[in-house]
């Protein structure tokens, strides 16, 4: 049954060239992130500077040129891939960790607990997420770890809302009543039935959010509120390149392209996931 579903999904992916492209690039990026130390032509250039060879334009020696400290930009981009994917993964994980339990509790218990949790999440969602994340990083102190916490704090309500509505719809089902009747504990009902049934919408939401989170963290680093030098974070590389880019275009162009390609391919995968996993949409598409 599962095998059949996977085969069906693969067929749908194959039929959709945009999703296929996105998925291939995402896989490639994961590979790059893992193998960065071996792929980078100058793996030590992440932290060490070579002032003598600063501002070298792209060439066969330095594929993307060198920056204001003479560091190989291509090598730094490969290591930056590691940072961006890790940031995405951790931030989503943290948001799920806060958002999912609250959503289950709100949807399952109802009443004033539900009301309180949902009003708090309304309040958090009344801030544009970048604004709240900026305010929180300003408070915690600017570094990458705090940027991740800040983004997660502004992101969790999406998952709470999603899981709450799933929990409410599942709560009324006969099979839950049956499970309760044969003596299944609340914990078992929640984990075995509610979470499992909500898996598909969560996967869709996560794949759609991944790109947006990478973008937000790059924006924070660009504003000086995220990663700090000498980390090879893409947003930070653009920020430090600002003073020199009019004469050395490669300083900002390549890190920006890296962000663009990463976010675009995750968005393509997110779109594809929605079309493939949401049966209502895929039926309409045919």
């Amino acid at each position: 049954m599962v095998l059949h579903e996977i085969r069906h999904a693969l067929r749908l992916i194959r039929r959709n060239p945009l999703t296929l492209t996105g998925l291939s690039i995402v896989l490639l990026l994961i590979l790059v992130a893992i193998l960065a130390p071996w792929l980078a032509p100058y793996p030590t250039d992440v932290n060490t500077s070579h002032i003598a060879s600063k501002f070298q334009p792209p060439s066969t020696i330095h594929l993307c040129g060198t920056d204001e400290l003479g560091r190989d930009i291509f090598s730094r981009l490969l290591f930056g891939c590691r940072i961006s994917l890790t940031v995405g993964l951790f931030t989503i994980g943290l948001s799920l960790l806060i958002g999912l339990p609250l959503g289950v509790i709100a949807g399952y218990s109802g009443g004033w607990i539900d009301e309180v949790i949902m009003r708090i999440s309304d309040m958090v969602l009344s801030f544009p997420s970048l604004l709240l994340a900026m305010a929180i990083t300003a408070m915690l102190g600017p570094n990458l770890q705090n940027a991740m916490i800040a983004i997660a704090v502004s992101w969790w309500p999406w998952y709470t809302r999603l899981l709450r509505s799933e929990a409410i719809s599942v709560r009324e089902k006969d099979y839950i009543a049956a499970a309760r009747a044969i003596g299944a504990s609340w914990g078992r009902v929640i984990f075995k039935h509610v979470l499992r049934n909500s898996l598909t919408p969560i996967i869709i939401q996560v794949s759609v959010d991944f790109g947006a989170i990478i973008m937000t963290s790059a924006a924070l680093s660009f504003l000086g509120l995220g990663a700090q030098p000498p980390r090879p974070e893409w947003g930070l590389m653009i920020n430090t390149g600002r003073d020199f880019f009019l004469n050395s275009w490669w300083l900002v162009t390549f890190p920006g392209l890296a962000i663009f390609i990463t976010v675009l391919s995750f968005n393509l995968v997110g779109d594809g996931a929605r079309e493939i996993l949401d049966p209502r949409l895929s039926r309409r598409g045919r």
Partner: protein
């Protein structure tokens, strides 16, 4: 309808109170030294103590919150620790420049995004559809701050056809200064017939405006494609076509009218979102707007200014959400019953 309105407005009010509390607490735990900033680092202990009382920092938190909100409602948003000006006056100085930018950007996004989405829907599945979908996806995935710099590289550095940054050129500011009425350069120079300044202002707003428009444009194109596709599948469109009504008329009169509402809803929310995008765009183009003021405030930990801007933007956001919900309830009775 009255019951729905009351409930919705009460809820919005509650959220506003909650948001102001969150912002207040955030600002109070920022590890900064407001007293030191106010009197300077070399101040004596008694001067610091006097400043503490002057800034109201000696009172309990809830009293500080209540007196802040009391001032907020009466137009006293505190004094910026950096400019030493009332925050509300600072905001009034910087906001018009941002509004110029946002209105230009959102208009561009609407005018280009909706037709692009419609074209994509009408040519569903063709190469045109794929191209416009990739284009709108790209608009969403482009880092705003990077796009801004790429535009500067291409149009200023390479082609020399558009200015690098600022709102008007130095020469215009000296020879044809704009007589300010509203604070909007475009509007004021147009009203006073100062066409030299209008030209300069227009050439300066193109790059930041289009940068700001990129993401909303992509989203609007995607939204209008999706809603158009849905509407075009309806029976009444088939009927209209069967009656021999011209395709253009079917699209614009019958389909678009029903497809546009959700797109405009998204538009209202994107307007509020773009208040935050200005943080990035204005920083690159040294555009003296609200975002420029706010990112400075954040970097210098100027908490009265951070609070003022954050509350202003989130209240705008809540207010636009409220308007959107009420409009939808007005148009669709199902919403107000549930």
């Amino acid at each position: 309808m009255v019951a729905y309105l009351t409930r919705r407005i009460a809820l919005a009010f509650l959220v506003m109170v909650g948001v102001s509390i969150i912002v207040f607490l955030l600002a109070r735990v920022i590890p900064s030294d407001p007293v030191g900033r106010w009197v300077g680092i070399r101040a004596k202990a008694e001067q610091r103590e006097r400043a503490r009382i002057e800034l109201g920092l000696d009172k309990p938190l809830y009293i500080q919150y209540l007196s802040y909100m009391n001032g907020f409602v009466h137009g006293n948003w505190g004094t910026s620790l950096y400019t030493h000006q009332p925050v509300l006056r600072d905001i009034a100085t910087y906001l018009p420049a941002s509004l110029d930018l946002i209105i230009f950007g959102m208009a561009t996004a609407l005018i280009l995004g909706i037709p692009l989405g419609i074209l994509s829907a009408v040519k569903n599945g063709t190469i045109i559809d794929h191209a416009s979908r990739v284009f709108s996806l790209a608009g969403i995935a482009l880092p705003t701050f990077w796009l801004a710099m790429v535009f500067q590289l291409v149009f200023f550095r390479q082609l020399h056809i558009l200015p690098l940054s600022g709102r008007v050129s130095m020469l215009t500011a000296i020879l044809n200064p704009i007589n300010h009425i509203t604070g909007s350069n475009l509007l004021d120079s147009l009203v006073t017939g100062n066409f030299a300044a209008l030209g300069s202002a227009l050439s300066h707003i193109i790059l930041p405006g289009i940068t700001l428009a990129a993401a909303p444009l992509g989203l609007m194109a995607r939204m209008s494609r999706a809603t158009m596709l849905e509407v075009l599948g309806e029976d009444y469109i088939r009927t209209a076509r069967a009656y021999g009504i011209s395709e253009i008329r079917v699209l614009i009169v019958y389909a678009l009218r029903n497809a546009i509402a959700p797109v405009l809803t998204v538009g209202a929310l994107l307007f509020a979102e773009s208040l935050v995008s200005t943080f990035l765009v204005e920083s690159v183009f040294t555009w003296p707007g609200l975002g420029f003021y706010a990112s400075n405030a954040i970097l210098t930990v100027d908490y009265p200014a951070i609070m003022g801007v954050t509350i202003l933007i989130s209240f705008t956001y809540i207010f636009l959400n409220l308007i959107v919900d009420i409009t939808q309830a007005f148009l669709d009775p199902r919403i107000r019953i549930s």
